[in-house]
Amino acid sequence: MKFETVIGLEVHVEMATKSKIFCSCSAEFGGEQNDHVCPACCGMPGMLPIVNKKVVDLGMTAGMMLNCHINRTTTFDKKSYYYPDLPAAYQTTQWFAPVAVNGTVEIETANGKKSVRIKQIHMEEDAGKLVHDDWTGTSLVDFNRTSVPLIEIVSQPDLSSAEEVVAYLERLRSLLRFAKVSDCRMEQGSMRCDVNLSVRPEGSDKLGVRTEMKNMNSLSAIVRAIEYETARHIDAIENGTEELVQETRRWDDVKGKSFAMRSKETAGDYRYFPDPNIMPVVIDDAWYDAIKASLPEFPEVKKARYTTELGLGDYDADILTGSRALCDCFEGALAVCGNAKEAANWLISDCMNVLNKKQLTADQLTIDGKALGELIVLVSDGKVGRGNAKKILEAMFEQELSPAKYAEENGFIVSNDTGLIEKTVREAIAADQKAVADFKGGKEKALMALFGKCMKQLKGNCDPQLLRTMLIDEINKA
């Protein structure tokens, strides 16, 4: 018998906000344990939740990026269960009126294109972190992540293979990064998913027994888990090796197996009810329109524009549209310098070099596109040498600056004082007669050595073409 796998995903994404969802603690990743904590997010009584507006902005943004209907009145509810990482023993989430519903995400795999339906996107608070201490046999609780804002994106069971799941997750990551909803770093847990999976005979319209694997945070582990779980289900159905039960399972990537979870969270009744302390959030037209207007172009739309309208190659356009930060900087630079190819080159080679040296990713690019454009203009106008321009660029990674002003202050402005150049060239020739002889003897390299010495003497502030011409003239005279 042939089988098909039916998969639905619940993807949790931590939103890129400065503060938590209901209190003003920092939402920054990392920090000493329990350092980003206040009475509210460690479960003490007396503080009241006030919704972070940015969370609603980003929730709406995510909804719009995923073609969802935005609920103009969205409300918060409480979900109760006991677990040490949940300090108030309830999580504030959205159960009755989530921010966004009924969307779609388009994916593409070797099997072609597919539209994955989104059931809903809701905003909620994250839980804390447990560390298991083997020395004392205890669990240690850190509430830094407690109340960090999340969106949970719930798909319909429209996925049917590990490949599709990966394509879906990569698409979500790209869209959400582009819209600056989240940095979607799976290794830091800012994007993770629960995989709901069942198996049924091909062509059957009845769903099989569903199991859920929680908190998956690496694509490769997700692929292995789906393959393992699919095989386990088929084995159980075909060979009766075990009786499948609807349950939550934990994937152990080291052992390469999934295990039934016995945690309390899976037991009992969540007893959802509307949070009396949080008034409904009503999204008026002005708010809705402002978010709509702030949406970025989809990456593939941008790419098409970069290649057809701006004449960039596929390779360059791919690299640029791989990161919203690169696109923003590129477009900022282009607006100033008007030269797409030149702007792309500066980003793809020079900026990426600096990022690599600093061990940063493209998304962490912070330089201002307008300033980069000004720098490009300085070079193309022959006012700053390319070598010095790179020095200015490096300085731009350290501080916000005006390239023209910085060039002037640091003596990087090209001088076309022919008297000075002539003097420099003569001195160089006088000091290295061997090089002159070598050049005259046909050694092109000897000219480069002289050229380098002169350029150094002139601190790079010389039009290279002019220097070269004057150097050859002077050698010929000598």
Partner: protein, 93 residues
């Protein structure tokens, strides 16, 4: 209210009652039946639920992070801590 249901409620709420307490609670639940009758006597067919008694909405704050409390203060009354963590018996997954 069946006793089994009560036992389940105790479990969900991390409580464990004595038999005599259970009798008291079952008696309480029985009395609450009249509450249910009172409510059911009121027609709410076309009535919208009322979560909040005040007619305001959209109370939001700007996204500004502030540090107002220290870990030491927050853990001052903690039953057990270790290295700045709250400590509990090992959680079994």
């Amino acid at each position: 209210m069946e006793k089994d249901t009560l036992l389940l409620l105790e479990k969900v709420n991390q409580l464990s009652l004595s038999e005599s307490e259970r009798d008291t609670v079952l008696g309480f639940f029985e009395k609450r039946e009249c509450d249910m009758e009172k409510l059911n006597a009121i027609d709410t067919e076309n009535v919208e639920r009322m979560v909040h008694v005040l007619p305001i909405n959209t109370v939001v704050r700007e996204d500004v992070a502030k540090k107002l409390f220290t870990r030491d203060d927050l853990q001052k009354g903690a039953p057990e801590t270790m290295d700045g963590f709250w400590q509990v018996p090992r959680v079994v997954e």
